[in-house]
């Protein structure tokens, strides 16, 4: 028995094993051909009373848990016969949860309903795989076509149908600051990026970070605000619709501006959490921070600060009148064991009562235009007003406008850019990944 024999044995074993598996794969393909083509494509609103088990799959635990619990209580009151299994899997904006969900779906064991970012993250992944049920009948039966804004319904649906029920709306393009500090430093709230650059030089001299930043995903988050500000809403939408190339000079300009913005950020960004970046503004180490409005929830609830007194906000530079949104939503996968309960759950998610129980605790606003604003704090009220009156565009960093493949590659391009700061290269790379991921031309 020498080493050659070991290797020979090893390769034979591997070969045998892989042929066996290969044969298994072939068999799969055959069963696919002969499988009956009939599939349920739409939910059926039957009005059956729901009972049995309902597994709700989400990544809301910890500080976000209470909001989900409130929503579940609303549901349980209406459907006392249903046993809710609240399956939460935490970890950085759903990274673990997504792996578990995908493994389960591939293994043929979908939960009754799962949390997903509304928009392309759902459409590009699950709708494209024909794994979701069209919810149009539910939307019609519940009268949701009138209470959800048109722009929103367009973004969560395709020509074939509507795929999820949004439970909340967050705003992405918000600039946060402490009014008292700005007054002390003699700075006015900035309207444009040039204002920030001018203020930034002044702040730098005082040893203050002009704009605080955290790990990679917050860099993506900042990028989308810069892009919206530089391109304007029309071109921003055109970019995602594939009408403007990523290599277009306008997009290169976005990267150039973004590179300039980065010069005004802290150099330890990559090791901070977004909360720590918010802390920097609150503590007076930094002047501004661009973050979604969960930062308002953090400052009001965890840090016990008073909105518009202890902290102030405005649309990020150049994006006034635009509301860049992201939303969590729940959908109905095909092939679940308890479709009645799924339907009842989705009805609760979209209901005014459910929405108003969930959102004040979550720090977000309701997706419905008829929410009871008296339940929300000062910040949320202003966000709700903007949501009703502004042009609505979708977020990149949070899955509204791009599919998951693109988002993953975009993070890689971002890492490249953070290292090289080469705008042209980043724009070209984005063009390449857009094509690879079946977006744009």
């Amino acid at each position: 028995m020498n080493s050659k024999k070991v290797i020979a044995m090893l390769s034979i074993l591997l070969l045998v094993a892989s042929t066996a598996v290969f044969a298994g794969g072939q068999q799969d393909a055959q069963t696919m051909d002969s499988a009956p083509a009939k599939m349920v494509e739409k939910v059926e609103v039957t009005g059956n009373p729901a009972s049995g088990d309902l597994e709700i799959f989400s990544w809301w635990a910890g500080d976000e848990g209470p909001a989900l619990d409130a929503l579940i209580r609303v549901f349980e009151k209406k459907n006392p016969a249903v046993n809710v299994l609240n399956a939460t899997i935490t970890g950085g904006s759903g990274v673990n949860a997504k792996a578990v969900l995908k493994t389960r779906m591939l293994g043929g064991d979908p939960p009754e309903s799962f949390q997903v970012h509304a928009g392309q993250e759902l459409i590009g992944t699950w709708v494209a795989a024909k794994r979701m049920l069209d919810l149009t009948p539910l939307f019609k039966a519940e009268g949701w076509m009138d209470v959800f804004p048109k722009d929103l319904v367009n973004l969560i649906g395709t020509k074939e149908g509507i795929w999820s029920v949004p439970v909340n709306i967050h705003r992405s393009n918000v600039l946060w600051y402490v009014p008292e500090n700005l007054a002390k430093w003699g700075i006015k709230p900035p309207k444009t990026w040039d204002d920030i650059f001018a203020a930034g030089d002044k702040l730098r001299a005082k040893g203050i970070v002009p704009l605080s930043l955290a790990t990679t995903w917050t860099a993506n988050h900042l990028w989308e605000s810069v892009a919206l500000g530089v391109l304007g809403a029309d071109d921003y939408d055109a970019l995602w619709a594939g009408k403007i190339s990523w290599a277009d000079p306008k997009v290169v300009k976005v990267w150039e501006t973004y590179g300039k913005v980065l010069k005004y950020t802290n150099n330890d960004a990559a090791s901070l959490s977004w909360q720590q970046a918010t802390d920097m503004v609150v503590n007076g180490q930094a002047a501004f921070n661009i973050m979604g409005d969960w930062a308002a929830g953090y400052m009001s609830t965890t840090l016990k600060l008073e909105p518009s007194v202890d902290y102030g906000w405005m649309a990020s530079p150049g994006t006034d009148g635009n509301f860049m949104f992201l939303a969590d939503s729940f959908g109905a996968p095909k092939g679940t064991k308890n479709p009645d309960a799924t339907l009842a759950w989705l009805a609760a998610c979209g209901s005014r009562e459910g929405s108003d129980a969930f959102n004040p605790l979550k720090g977000s606003i309701s997706a419905r235009t008829d929410a009871d604003l008296s339940l929300y704090n000062v910040y949320s009220k202003s966000a709700a007003e903007d949501f009703a009156s502004n042009r609505i565009v979708g977020s990149l960093a949070h899955g509204v406008v791009a599919n998951e493949g693109f988002m993953n590659d975009f993070s890689t391009v971002m890492e490249m850019f953070l290292k090289s700061r080469d705008s042209q290269q980043a724009a070209n790379a984005c063009q390449a990944i857009a094509i690879q991921n079946g977006m744009g031309k």
Binding site: V6, G62, D63, T90, A99, S273, W294
Partner: protein
């Protein structure tokens, strides 16, 4: 004499510096766990809390109690099963070699080095097919199967220490495979079992990826419970730190009280002179 004393002092100084280094993370976890969330701040990370706030430990324990129970069941049963398999395998590879046994051993050993992410999807599918997905049973199977290579290796190394000559007289007396194993080898195996059990216990207790993928909520092990504590977008650091310490307690106890046997067992396993 003087030089001897100086050396001695130097030795203790160096040792104490290392003790400090090794204890720093524990200190940090403990101090943070005892703080009130509002008191936790990076720039004062090293400071003791203004007053000890034990409620985080209580809260973490209440939240993780079911996971703790699951992990105990999982770890104990998987450890016992894999130790038994390892012992008999090791006995064969060490004392009952046959033509080709070395090759089989090498092939089995190779299983230690696969990255577990690679087998996640097929593993899930197999467990689902045999009806074990979602329960602790499926997790036990996964840990036992992927534990086979390392437990076999540890036991084989251990048995290689025992001179084969002790088996000769038993063989002449006509004792067979199992009689020698249960009458002669097993009673000598306790140090081997200690090493293997400690190793497997630690590995299984601390495993996360399978815990989260292969079980449903009711059967989630402790690492998953811990990650629920640390989850959410706004993290208050006291709770995860308290949870980390709590979840480490069972394994820490093993190391503190059985560490001596662990080292003694390693001694038996690693020297082949």
């Amino acid at each position: 004499m003087n030089k001897y004393k100086l050396n001695k002092i130097l030795l203790y100084v160096v040792l104490i510096i290392f003790v400090a280094i090794y204890l720093v993370p524990m200190y940090m976890a403990f101090v943070t766990a005892l703080k009130d969330p509002s008191e936790i701040n990076l720039s004062t990370a090293w400071k003791l809390p203004s007053e000890a706030n034990w409620s985080s430990f209580k809260e973490a324990f209440l939240l993780m109690a079911p996971n703790l129970r699951n992990s105990l069941i999982l770890t104990v049963s998987a450890t016992v099963i894999s130790a038994m398999i390892g012992s008999i395998n090791g006995y064969i590879f060490s004392k009952n070699r046959f033509r080709g046994s070395e090759v089989i051993f090498t092939l089995i050993l190779f299983g230690m080095f696969i990255p577990y992410q690679i087998i996640l999807i097929p593993l899930f599918q197999v467990l689902k097919t045999i009806g074990l997905y979602g329960s602790l049973g499926g997790l036990v199977v996964a840990h036992v199967v992927y534990g086979i290579p390392i437990v076999t290796m540890l036991f084989r190394n251990f048995y290689d220490q025992i001179p084969s000559s002790i088996m000769e007289s038993a063989k002449i007396d006509g004792a067979g495979f199992f009689r020698i194993y249960s009458g002669l080898i097993l009673p000598l195996s306790i140090p081997g079992f200690v090493v293997v059990c400690i190793w497997q216990f630690t590995q299984i207790w601390n495993e996360f990826l399978w815990g989260i993928t292969l079980t449903r909520q009711a059967a989630n092990p402790i690492t998953v419970g811990l990650s629920q504590l640390a989850g959410g977008q706004a993290v208050s650091w006291n709770l995860p730190m308290a949870g980390s310490l709590l979840s480490a307690v069972p394994v820490l106890i093993i190391y503190i009280f059985l560490g001596k046997y662990f080292i003694r067992g390693l001694l038996a396993g690693s020297l082949k002179e």
